[in-house]
Amino acid sequence: MKPQVSVSTASQLSAIILILTSSLLLGSCGSSENNVSKGNRTGTLHWGNGTEPQSLDPHIATGVPEHKIIIALMEGLVLKDRKTLEPRPGVAKSWEISDDGRVYTFHLRDNARWSNGDPHNAHDYVWSWWRALQPALGNLYAYMYFSIENAKEYYEGEISDFEQVGVKALDDLTLQVTLKNPTPYFLQLLDHYSLYPVHQATVEKFGSADQRGTRWTYEGNIVGNGAFQLRDWKINRRVVVERNPYYWNADNVRLNEIVYYPTENAITEERMFRAGQLHYSGTVPADKIATYQSNNDPALRIDPYLGIYFYRINVETPQLQDKRVRRALGMTIDRDQLTQRILKAGQIPAYAITPPGTMGYYPESDLRFDPEAARQLLADAGYPNGEGFPSTEILYNTSEGHRKLAVAIQQMWKKHLNIDVTLLNQEWKVYLNSVSMKDYQIGRAGWIGDYVDPNNFLDMFLCNGGNNRTGWCNPVYDELILKHAPEAKTQEERLEIFTQAEKMLLADMPVIPIYIYTSNNLVDPSVKNFSGNILNQPSFSEIYLEPDNGGQQ
């Protein structure tokens, strides 16, 4: 009968509400063991990984989060020491370098296997490097190969025969690489993921070799040669890797799994770490660092990082054409105050572009904080006491950290030079567009080294350097970097040439170095064998979990 209808709908509705409520609440009951203590029991490392990886293909990927996953899944010929970054045997158990420093012969391990059990040999490298140099693949790190003979020529289509490129499999277990010039940092490059090998059969199973965006890197498909293999990839949720039983050194791998969390928000990640949901967080908000420091919390690890934070100056801007003006700007940034009062994470004031100590290189710089001299320079340039200096704009991409620094620098320039500077933040892609179009006056920039060598920093400012973007061009500088340095007989001579080049750069000051990055990591005390290094590169195959007495904090 219909009179019941209203009552029954009401009861149905309340039933639905009841079910929904209980499902919401039911989820909340249960054990309260957090990820860290559970992970310590099961050998699972919970890793805060910044953002969602865009690709796990080593020849396509570009970002840091991707890097952290790929190094677990794959391995190059050579590994680095987790502390000193000295080359250590990887897939290659040993190697010889010819006397002229141009020919490298690698002897591969006979027990190296792909994660599906396939044998792993020298031909894999030849094929993989051929793939990495296909222009259609859009490999942004193709330039990492350019120290190899004819690699650049092949990539740019000047030669079409890959045979002429300096890489050869002498036999199944011997790989010979011929370089254009002696390149002291070549062994380091081999540990960069862009030179990792990929499994030919798997790649070709899901598409052609030079095709982007095939599904070969997904869970269930991907085959690697690293200590771990991909088990699960839930977008925006987690990436899970587990031990690879075929890894040549599998017996010494002590972690069972690593769970990577794409968190994006540094504040969220820090809270997750504090609540015991993560073993590791790699992005600590600046204001939190002080709190950790004042508590003497052992979880906070601060290490120098091979990266420089600087301001580019568009030298075509009328009021910034005069290098005295640029120097004056550089000399009125109180870097000590910035690093101590704003950044607060042990960052090192930078007075040159290359971080000191890079492969034994210590740049000589006459740059220092000297408002008196700066005012004089500005006066010489025609702006005594900042009078008549047009309003100038600092461009930075939207981010709290960049904003803080810009606000402080704006005020320093106002105070010391009496010039008006405005700030402009742009959303990331707009900012990239503005900078590459040179549609800016002063622009925030940063550079993280791909490998440990001054060259990686100084070749940015070649006339035609894609990353120059300042409009500054000095043929003498180009010649030093491109011609004299590669031809240097000894490392001392080479570094001397770099010193000379860097001095020229600093004298003209198309870029204002500000500080040298540090890597700020939060690492749970139970994580062992985690060593800070200037590339901030963990060695997952060595890490293990062992709670201290008394267990978790």
């Binding site: 919401l24 222009p135 859009g138 193709a142 982007r212 977008i235 809270r271 990239l432 894609g466």
Partner: protein, 311 residues
């Protein structure tokens, strides 16, 4: 009723078409392409990438072929997540977002309606002022503020609930649902108070009283249905808003939902992703508005039979 729904869906077609077209040309005219990066990208790489995603064709040609694909339900490949299709990504993000929206709505309805009804039962007393003042704060309390406060209190200090996650740790859905639901709860409280006040002053409530029915029976059986019609009409836009507006909450609580995709796509100039999400959200908005209108019709027997004189 069906006819009403059909007509509304018919009207939705031009709306969707305009939304797609406007968004298409909007995103393509925004500065910065999908492949620009921090480190300079060699022009040959850009060319190779553009060829692969047909970005080297004239814009109108891209537009036509995109429309064709959309009509077949194919939203194209994502530019950013190499190898994933937009359909796949939406399917990956939807469950969490939909679930979150549902719980948030539940929170909003339970808190909002009880507060609104309580307030309406004794207007202009403390029982009215207290929940309504709270509601006012709730409306304007941004989730980027409420979320962190809840996390600090319940997650870090009291250690009652997880600070993030979705379905990983028991109870990790509670704080996000509350954070997202509060603003809507506040709005629903105001709406249901207004609706209930209106209904409680109606003659038929007096009739019910005169019949000797108890107060709870009057409130729940006689008043609630009419009093909640404004709330029901608000449900559609609210649910669409919950689905689309969950970005902040998803970020704070590390929830693998659609909101994060949308914002990431916009920042990354992932053209197909932006377009796909826009089409998807626009469809949802239209659908939910339709559903809530139909629900409001269904609740009112008179309109139910007329199926809406004027749509």
């Amino acid at each position: 009723m069906l006819r009403f729904a059909f007509n509304r869906l018919l009207q939705a077609i031009p709306v969707l078409l305009i939304v797609i077209s406007a968004t298409f040309f909007l995103v393509h005219s925004a500065p910065g392409g999908p492949f620009s990066a921090d480190k300079a990208v060699p022009p040959e790489v850009i060319r190779a990438l553009e060829a692969q995603y047909n970005l080297d064709q004239p814009l109108w040609q891209q537009y036509v072929s995109y429309l064709g694909d959309v009509l077949q339900g194919d939203l194209g490949p994502s530019f950013k997540y190499s190898g994933r299709t937009v359909n796949e990504l939406i399917a990956a993000g939807l469950p969490a977002t939909a679930e979150l929206a549902m719980y948030a709505m539940l929170v909003a309805l339970i808190i909002g309606i009880s507060a609104g009804v309580l307030a309406a039962m004794r207007p202009n007393t403390m029982q009215d002022y207290l929940p309504m003042s709270a509601a006012m704060l709730g409306i304007c309390m941004p989730s980027f503020l409420l979320g962190p406060i809840l996390v600090l209190v319940f997650g870090i200090h009291l250690e009652w609930l997880p600070v993030s996650g979705w379905g990983d740790i028991p109870g990790d859905k509670i704080l996000p649902a509350i954070t997202l639901g509060t603003g809507y709860a506040a709005y629903i409280a105001r709406l249901s108070r207004g609706g209930m006040l209106e209904v409680l002053s109606q003659d038929y409530i007096r009739t019910a009283r005169a019949k000797g029915l108890s107060e709870p029976l009057i409130i729940f059986k006689h008043a609630l249905r009419g009093g909640l019609i404004p709330v029901v009409a608000f449900l559609g836009p609210a649910f669409a808003g919950l689905l689309g507006g969950s970005f902040v909450v998803e970020t704070i609580f590390q929830i693998p939902g659609l909101g994060r995709f949308y914002v990431q796509a916009a920042f990354n100039r992932d053209y197909t992703m932006i377009l796909g999400m826009t089409v998807f959200f626009a469809t949802l908005i239209i659908l939910f508005n339709l559903l809530s209108d139909m629900l409001a019709l269904w609740l009112n027997p008179k309109l139910r039979q007329q199926a809406g004189g004027e749509s």
